[in-house]
Symmetry: C2
Subunit: 224 residues, 2 copies
């Protein structure tokens, strides 16, 4: 609902978040909130669309940047996804004080937690669409869906871990996680199709065996 008016300065939304965090979300009427950010009730709804949306105003910017970054990038699909996702996190943590304030507000307000799910789902859609565009031919349909959801989930997990003080450098930790995650999907994201090579991925989880013993196991799997 409610397309947000462009060009609203972000400081009003952080003022609104501060007010909500101090006085309580349910206890603050839209009129009081509008007054707190220095505008009338009418204008408040015109600018932010709703009482919830003012809390997530900067997600619009992050989402726009994400779309732009994926739209034209010189990076490989894997690198594009890793860096774009990390950049979103970096943008949201640019002002750590505001991030913690919003987290505290959301911790206290179930309605905002629900709303956040809706907001973050927009990222999932962007990721999924991009993956569908760049994935290799004959990639199964579930890949884009699950990887898109996974990227958002990993992002959120890193954000929460940082907010709870369990990691210091959220962006770096997320990059590592995303490298591992996308590694699982590499065969569908990277063109190994240098024609002379057969498209086979072998993942060896136990390095103890000799190549020959692994080959035996592979052979057994193949002929089963």
């Amino acid at each position: 609902m409610s397309v947000r008016a462009p060009g609203t300065p972000p400081e009003s939304s952080t003022a609104a978040i501060r007010h909500l965090a101090e006085r309580g979300y349910e206890a603050t009427t839209a009129e009081a909130l509008a007054a707190a950010v220095g505008m009338s009730r009418s204008t408040f709804f015109r600018r932010f669309g709703s009482k919830d949306d003012v809390v997530f105003a900067d997600h619009d910017l992050a989402l726009a940047r994400l779309e732009a970054a994926l739209e034209d990038t010189a990076l490989s699909p894997v690198d594009a996804l890793v860096t774009a996702t990390t950049d979103v996190l970096r943008l949201l943590l640019r002002d750590p004080e505001a991030a913690r304030l919003r987290f505290e507000l959301m911790r206290l307000t179930p309605a905002l937690r629900d709303r956040e799910l809706v907001i973050t789902h927009r990222y999932e859609r962007v990721f999924t669409r991009y993956i569908r565009e760049v994935q290799q031919p004959a990639t199964p349909a579930w890949v884009a869906s699950t990887l898109g959801a996974s990227l958002v989930a990993a992002h959120n997990a890193a954000l929460r871990a940082w907010l709870r003080g369990r990691i210091a450098d959220a962006a770096a930790a997320l990059t590592d996680d995303l490298r591992d995650l996308t590694g699982l999907y590499r065969p569908w994201l990277e063109n190994t199709g240098d024609r002379t090579e057969r498209r086979v991925l072998v993942a060896v989880y136990d390095a103890a065996g000799s190549p020959e013993s692994v080959l035996d196991a592979v052979s057994e799997r193949l002929h089963r």
Copy 2:
């Protein structure tokens, strides 16, 4: 908000969905909807909590079953996740007519699509918590988050594919997808400490080659 009253017969909610789909969600007031399912406005809110929640009433049952299924199961983690997720889909498709009706209603109603995200997130939480319990020691933290999100995403993708008539047997298709998906996470979900078997995963993306030609490629990779 609004804990739902227990023991409300499901036929009232399907009647409500039918009414909403026919007359339109926004155009139907809570009073008219209450009358359509044969109760007063007061009792309607007592029973269903809100106008949205009546649409997703049976998710409560599916979620409870999912939790119960994962709570005590004799299956391996991978099998438990695959069958439990598929069972949720089966339950939601038990009445195909109702499923299609709800889909049509949601297709027309953005507010309900948002609400659905909130509902399905509860499944993600259940999955993630279960995975955290059963995962192998020293599993990275992102595994549970991303796999939980992926299970929900795969479920939703299968449901949508079925609703759009692109697959006939949604549950079977989902099972296949989930087998592949969980295969990616197998090293963290299964105790491969059974010493006699070598832990090797081979994924063949080009079915054209004979087993022997694939073996050649594998051998080449291994010795590289």
